[in-house]
Amino acid sequence: MKAVLDDEVDALFQALADRTRRDIVRRVTGEGLSVSDLAAGYDMSFAAVQKHVAVLERAGLVTKRRVGKRQIAHAEVGPLRTIRSMLAELEDQWVERVQRIDDLLAGDEQAGS
């Protein structure tokens, strides 16, 4: 967790703060897709989709490989795991806190107060 630089994490969140970009990540997870195939799925220009893919590339969420004339985009799962695990760890902290509240309240009955 500490190995990830803040700038990288900021770039991740910015990249995922856009609905189209989240959708692109979903579509290129598992099987890759060419940028032209991707662009066909949105009501926006090819150039606009290319820009979205570039933002995702800079954040490390997507990598592009050239296959012949086509550019195939693939999702990288590592950065997503980072974000998820940050929020999940915090959730664990809260789950433990809630458990402590529960224990404290249960102690009332035993103390007969």
């Binding site: 967790m1 979903r26 902290q93």
Partner: protein, 176 residues
Amino acid sequence: MPVIDTFHDEETLTLTIVAEFAAPLERVWEVYADPRQLEQIWGPPTYPATVVDHSLAPGGRVTYYMTSPEGEKFCGLWELTAVDRPTRLEFRDYFADEDFTVVESMPGSSCVYRFEATETGTRATYESVFDSVEGLRTVLEMGVIEGSTGAINQIDGLLARSGTVNRANSQPSELA
């Protein structure tokens, strides 16, 4: 065992936890109104919390520190913005130095705690909104947390399924 629901919003850096306690509303409120009880629940046994000042009123402050196993102190404070006994508590949670001065360079978070009576006791909803990713990370780096592999497995499952997600119905929350 409290029933727990959790929601993450990765865009707004919001974490929401819903818990149900088998105790009356007033009793649950008391956990926050009594500094000796608050310190029992705020930090884990390995990082015990000590509450110093405790003024649970709008404009009031609650100051606390947590002590690491190595004896290092992590100080924090709440600035209360709304207190509606026994149903609502709103505050800003900041990192502080040893004199309980807010460390301006460290991002804080905004918290809203809501409590409501239910047939079986009390439902509590805890919402924390972090000012930045850095704030989220700092909270984690206090070393207070046990790692969790469950979340990783969860996202593996999510990613494995997402290849077959129907785009037309895809919701932003699928990645959240």
